[in-house]
Subunit: 274 residues, 2 copies
Amino acid sequence: VARRPGPRLTIGQAASYAGVTTRAIRHYHQVGLLAEPGRDSSGYRRYSARDVIDLIRIRALTKAGVPLNRIGALLTAGLDEFAAAVAEIDQQLQAEIRRLEEHRVAVAQLATVDGLALPTEVVAYLDHLRALGFGERMIAIERDGWLIISAQLPDAVVGWIEAKRESFDDPQIVAAYRALEAAFDWGSNDPRLDDLADLMERLFVRTASEQDSIQQPPVHAPEIDSTTVAMLDAESIARSPAWVRLGELLEQRGWHGWNDLEGPMKHVPPNGEG
Amino acid sequence: VARRPGPRLTIGQAASYAGVTTRAIRHYHQVGLLAEPGRDSSGYRRYSARDVIDLIRIRALTKAGVPLNRIGALLTAGLDEFAAAVAEIDQQLQAEIRRLEEHRVAVAQLATVDGLALPTEVVAYLDHLRALGFGERMIAIERDGWLIISAQLPDAVVGWIEAKRESFDDPQIVAAYRALEAAFDWGSNDPRLDDLADLMERLFVRTASEQDSIQQPPVHAPEIDSTTVAMLDAESIARSPAWVRLGELLEQRGWHGWNDLEGPMKHVPPNGEG
DNA sequence: TTGCTCCTCACGTCACGTGAGGTGGC
DNA sequence: TTGCTCCTCACGTCACGTGAGGTGGC
């Protein structure tokens, strides 16, 4: 006499007893984690107590974050094998947690809009410009330029911005910058642009001679390729007709690759062609 | 004169400058995060410096774990909006980290195979059985039974297993369990099964009367439904022909729902039908 | 007869990775 | 002419959720 064949649960009952969804059970069948049980005359799947036990163990493992494709082996693993696998899973969890902690740090650095992908030194520099009274439009132009540079030369940028900031201790340079900011809205044939070009050329010449005399390596344009220079120019200059005109005037005087906004006097002097 | 229209980068160049993959850029186009740029005569996409800047900012946000569907709004957000969004993102990161920490705790509890989905009290009980010298097969049967019970009645299980363990202080009960373990491999018509049935009936009767006299609430079978009982029976009994026979003998004497392995004397007395 | 459960597809999720098959540019 | 880049599909990832459309059981 075949006594107590055991209950034959429907998928819903099995799911309820095991604490999972019916869809999850079907999914386990689909990926081969749990064998398909027999069907009754209506085509319904009928589950045994053993199936429920397996489902409970599967649930325990998935709740612990174990990927399904590892659970199959774990359910039948020996003690040592199991312990080793569990240790490895814990390693992965730790690594994932570390990754998220790093995300949190990154997010915290985003806390200010300027912080987007910019090193803190550059953010400090932009704040300095704010303190000096420059407008947000000017600062946004600076930010975008430094964004490109930072993406290209993350290591060089820190020393570079330092020098740039120091250059703002010079009242003449600050004055030139203010004039530049004001010029943004001028017409492209405004006569004041000639005076501004004169002022800037004097600063270029002075800065170049200072660098030569101090014998310090030129801080301007460390390994920046021509495409990047073109990008910087395009981004900062092209927005204002007056600035475009100013660039033309300076180019007529032999100053190519003009982009005064990035780096301390980053420009190519009259004899530097290429 | 349209001066300095800016560089027109290919997708590979833009990707390189921004530090992303070409596939990522195409994906951003597909989801509408970045507008498709113009094409050149060969059908190649051509990118501007502005695109590179946007890509750099997108990269910064994705690296911080911000989902793409939020980045679009963030790129053009104002300061307050941006700060609020960043704060919320950080909350989500923290929640995710907490979730993983919980996973680690769960994984640690899995460290032993028995721990799979079982409360520590049950694990301790199983270890106690080991210490008493019971074999792994017997313990696996116990484990699976308690697995089902724990899934059904997580709250009741702790007190229940306590009583069960205490019952093992009684040498007679231990002796009966040892006999039960030995009987697993007997033939289904082994004459010793009659003696074992006698022994177990005496224990059932004694336990029942003790519970009555002490006036303590019956610890057996708190709100276990009949399907669960059937599952327990099927799992533990049906594996051994001798056990099946033993169940029959006890049923002949009026003891239904026999499942001595789960709970202290969890069984239905002769007059308890239903 | 009305709900409830069961059945089998099959798309959607998230941010791309990875070929597949073909063409333009140096 | 040979690599290298570009192009457009389109499947795969992970563990299911969520209908869509239809049928059996109390």
